[in-house]
Symmetry: C2
């Protein structure tokens, strides 16, 4: 990887983090990279292509780092703890912000949408794998769809990040509330056998977790 290309990729991620999608431009990227503006088009043809390459690199690096962490988790509660650390780390690196800006831009721009879809599915698949492994045996298994749940977690992270950028105090309290709710998982994970059986029966009795074609009441 040439030095210029590398500098441009790094500067693109940084610009997206700090100036947002509305402030992203070839000139802004080139200035930050300390590189001539024309070189963007020589190396990457268009600004959009550069953004795609830069976000892909960022996501692959982050997800790769957390693959090993996820593998260590032996319970849903442990996973929740890893998730907390992940959020803090990614927050600090500015990667959640990068992703939220990419997603906002992707609502109107097809090329950015493709980049955002790649980022989201890469994260979601990684999360799904570990959730599926740890959900086995829990009463939650009857309710939760691991794939959809993983996507929902990713989506919520994005929303929380945006909230925190707008109103840090409120965003923080939203995150705290979700963590408290995550404790529900701990409780259900660790219920005595009697209560666990009762809960499991109650869940089965409701329509929850059944396909739409089933009409058991």
């Amino acid at each position: 990887m040439s030095d210029t290309k590398d500098k441009l990729l790094a500067a693109t991620a940084d610009t997206l983090r700090e100036a947002g999608i509305a402030g992203l431009s070839a000139r802004a990227i080139a200035t930050r990279a300390g590189v001539n503006q024309a070189l963007i088009f020589y190396h990457f043809t268009t600004v959009a292509d550069l953004v795609v390459a830069a976000t892909k690199r960022t996501v692959d690096e982050s997800v790769g780092y957390y693959r090993a962490e996820f593998a260590k988790a032996c319970s849903l509660v442990e996973l929740l703890q890893i998730g907390r650390g992940l959020h803090e780390r990614e927050q600090e690196l500015g990667n959640v912000r990068l992703m939220s800006q990419l997603m906002a831009g992707g609502q109107q721009d097809a090329i950015l949408a493709e980049a955002a879809a790649y980022a989201l599915s890469t994260w979601s698949e990684e999360i799904e794998t570990v959730v599926r492994r740890l959900l086995a045996g829990s009463p939650l298994e009857l309710i939760a769809d691991p794939r959809g749940l993983a996507k929902a977690v990713s989506a919520s992270f994005i929303g929380l990040e945006l909230y925190e950028g707008i109103d840090p105090v409120a965003g923080r309290s939203a995150l705290d509330a979700l963590e408290q709710l995550g404790m529900l998982v701990e409780v259900m994970d660790d219920l005595g056998p009697v209560a666990r059986r009762a809960l499991r029966a109650r869940i089965k009795r409701s329509k929850v977790g059944l396909g739409k074609s089933d009409t058991v009441v």
Copy 2:
């Protein structure tokens, strides 16, 4: 309210919905409104001020509509159903998209951030009121912080909307997963007395719902 001002306010909301924060400009708004571009600055001084006024109007109208709906809810399950309808309606009107674009822009622009903060707190306060009323008596009361929870719900809606704009199928499955999880509320709301007591006791026993200063294990 003069006709021109009204047209500009409506066009601003529409432009934000359809062109996003990166495509928002005085020219784009004026063209959509069928109004001379210079009139934006005559009536609203700056584009940012116009955006603030437009989003405030949109949010006040939407929240006002739902205040009456929320008042009708008599159980958490009913609230969940209203929430589903709300999501569909706001989605169709494009108001969630408007809000997500406003939040994305607000990460870098202080004036947009103020508008986004107003929108978020207006929604959150309305949701908090009804959640607080309906949570009384549920075992969830011991865990959940209504204020934080309301903000978390708002944030998650934003994230889900962005996800759906990027990958409609995946976004839909994320929403479905959250709704299934919402069924957990139904189950806990409607548990037999024995299981309810067991669950309540288990929740109390865990550190959940206690302040940080308490160190009961």
